[in-house]
Subunit: 367 residues, 2 copies
């Protein structure tokens, strides 16, 4: 297996020292920054995530800050989701599309104030798109990447750990809401959110100097809860149907193909880029869509390129993510399937690099 | 050392099978794609590059294609370099800046025709910036990423190898010019360029299906020339002063700070984004600039974050790339140094993770 070469270009994070001390074994690169992928083993991390609590360095969720009188106007230009009813203190999952309705990113928008937003991005330089639109439309906004690095606390014991560090009030944060909480005299955004289905929080650590102090306090406070360093888990996120931009969707795909049509209020999101294209898509519906796919037989190899889904000689879709699930005792996968074959129960074949496997398409993800 | 985890998001290339068969030992991720960093060892690769010929998978130099009636207008908006005299068949190194003059990328522009360009990019999603500007200004252009993956042939025996595959006419290609050459019935752009100082070519392989056939033909044709798979070499590129976007410069830096002032014709490049800011910079000159820096003593550790350059208690710059050079028998480095200390011969200190080292600033790179 090839090792990853270090350089300044592949950025370290404020938590890298903690991640290394915890024995990280693998990385990927996400937004030109190191993202851990495994600590003990992907399966051991998976079981632990479901029963205890983990601290995740998700600094790679870089923020695009949009600030100024035209901030809300620009935000609505960026997404087909209607933002008019959104209040400060809320987080919205927002598809971002180009003029043809192709997905450029699927971030979480964090509304700090009427004239100040963060966009917590997936893996593409959304900053350049936002700056380009703001410049082209001569909007009165400042757009930049602030020194904010999210740290996630995920797992069933997250509430218990967070209460010990931030106080009882963290329990009152509702899903996809945030509050301001104090740590070492500084005020931080703490949201109930995260890239797992096990519950938890994301702390938007503003100021890299706070990174290791917070990491250490959480690790110390959670010792008897079996807290451990963790990271987004491939198996758990497929079971839960959490999509990954760049893996399960790219700018080739519309939100509707990704099953994100419910986040597109294209009729009322006046002024959004891509509106014309998406109105057409909304009317006709997508001809292919993301589906959970079970791949039968033993453990599949790592999925690092699209695996064709076949009905005999017909190429009817592609698998984009796959892993063996210990809890469901089968291979769980995410695929884009043509409408002719996306009905739940469809029996198809998947061409993996290690041979053809029978597979079944489903309607709902595993958990 | 941590391994790199594979996924579809970190894209394979048309040459990945060849790279793996050649025994790649390390990767980095560049434009969300795998870029080899070492085959035998960085030092062995370095010596071989200087005496023989190497085939490099530089698919990560993704192309932004700009096509249509407004293509040349858009290109001039993107860069402060005056493009009016540029002819089809030429390649220009073009700084791309934002409205404040901050570097967004330092690509090579390839002019295919008056209304068709490729931008061969460094490590940032320039596509999103170009699309944003084109959309904001309602330009009549198509902007996308075509299926083009550059393959570089580098080293002193490059001409000899290329002649065997493409014919004697490749010798006539001048530096930073290109011609169209046939391979298996398809016409490919072949330019005399590349990210080393050892001479060579870049073949813009249009169509991923041509990747391995071309790789194999080159490998076979060069056997007696000791051809080997290679990659951009850290030591050689520092010796030659070849900058790396994301390492030696970011959007914090102006072209003038990067020593790229000679590529900024800000007075005549009418309509370029960032013109106001760069006119000011051109008048005042930068207060810090990139310099070659020799770091004395034994081999330095890998440079994966900025190393402060100190004059006693004063922080006067940062090292961004560094490596031991066998040929020059010292540590070669690239740093950004304040004007108060950038004079050739300045004796300073560099704070590496393994201790403070004496260092000397120079005017010219090693080769």
């Amino acid at each position: 297996m090839a090792v990853i070469s270090t350089s300044r270009r592949v950025r370290r994070t404020p938590f890298s020292a903690g991640v290394e001390a915890a024995g990280v074994k693998g990385y990927t690169v996400y937004n030109r920054m190191l993202l851990p992928t495994v600590f003990r083993s992907v399966e051991e991390d998976y079981h632990h995530l479901k029963r205890a609590v983990q601290i995740w360095d998700v600094s790679v969720e870089r923020q695009v800050e949009v600030r100024g009188p035209d901030a809300s106007k620009l935000m609505q230009m960026l997404t087909p989701r209607d933002l008019r009813g959104m209040l400060p203190g809320q987080c919205y999952y927002v598809p971002i599309v180009d003029e043809t309705g192709g997905m450029l990113n699927d971030p979480v928008a964090v509304k700090l104030a009427e004239d100040r937003w963060w966009i917590s991005i997936a893996d593409s330089d959304l900053l350049l798109w936002v700056k380009g639109i703001a410049y082209g439309y001569r909007l009165d906004v400042l757009v930049d990447e602030p020194d904010v690095s999210p740290l996630a606390v995920q797992g069933p014991k997250s509430d218990e750990l967070m209460v010990r560090v931030f106080g009882e009030q963290v329990r009152d944060i509702r899903f996809f809401r945030f509050g301001w909480f104090e740590f070492q005299g500084r005020s931080l955004v703490v949201a109930r959110s995260g890239y797992s289905k096990q519950g938890g929080f994301e702390i938007y650590v503003e100021g890299g100097d706070l990174g290791m102090p917070l990491w250490n306090v959480l690790m110390e406070a959670g010792k008897d809860l079996d807290v451990h360093a963790g990271c987004p888990n491939l198996i758990e996120r497929i079971e839960g149907g959490l999509l990954s931009y760049g893996n399960d969707m790219t700018d080739d795909n519309t939100p509707h193909e990704c099953g994100l049509g419910r986040f597109c209020n294209t009729n009322t999101a006046i002024g959004c880029v891509g509106r014309d294209a998406l109105l057409r898509v909304a009317q006709e519906g997508p001809v292919r869509q993301i589906r959970p796919v079970e791949i039968h037989g033993g453990t599949v190899p790592p999925c690092d390129q699209l695996w064709p889904i076949m009905d005999g000689e017909d190429h009817v879709g592609n698998i984009s993510s796959a892993a063996w699930s210990p809890d469901f005792n089968t291979n769980v996968a995410i695929g884009m399937v043509r409408m002719t074959h996306w009905k739940s129960g469809s029996e198809l074949d998947v061409v993996t690099p290690e041979g053809v496997r029978p597979a079944t398409v489903y309607e709902a993800f595993w958990q």
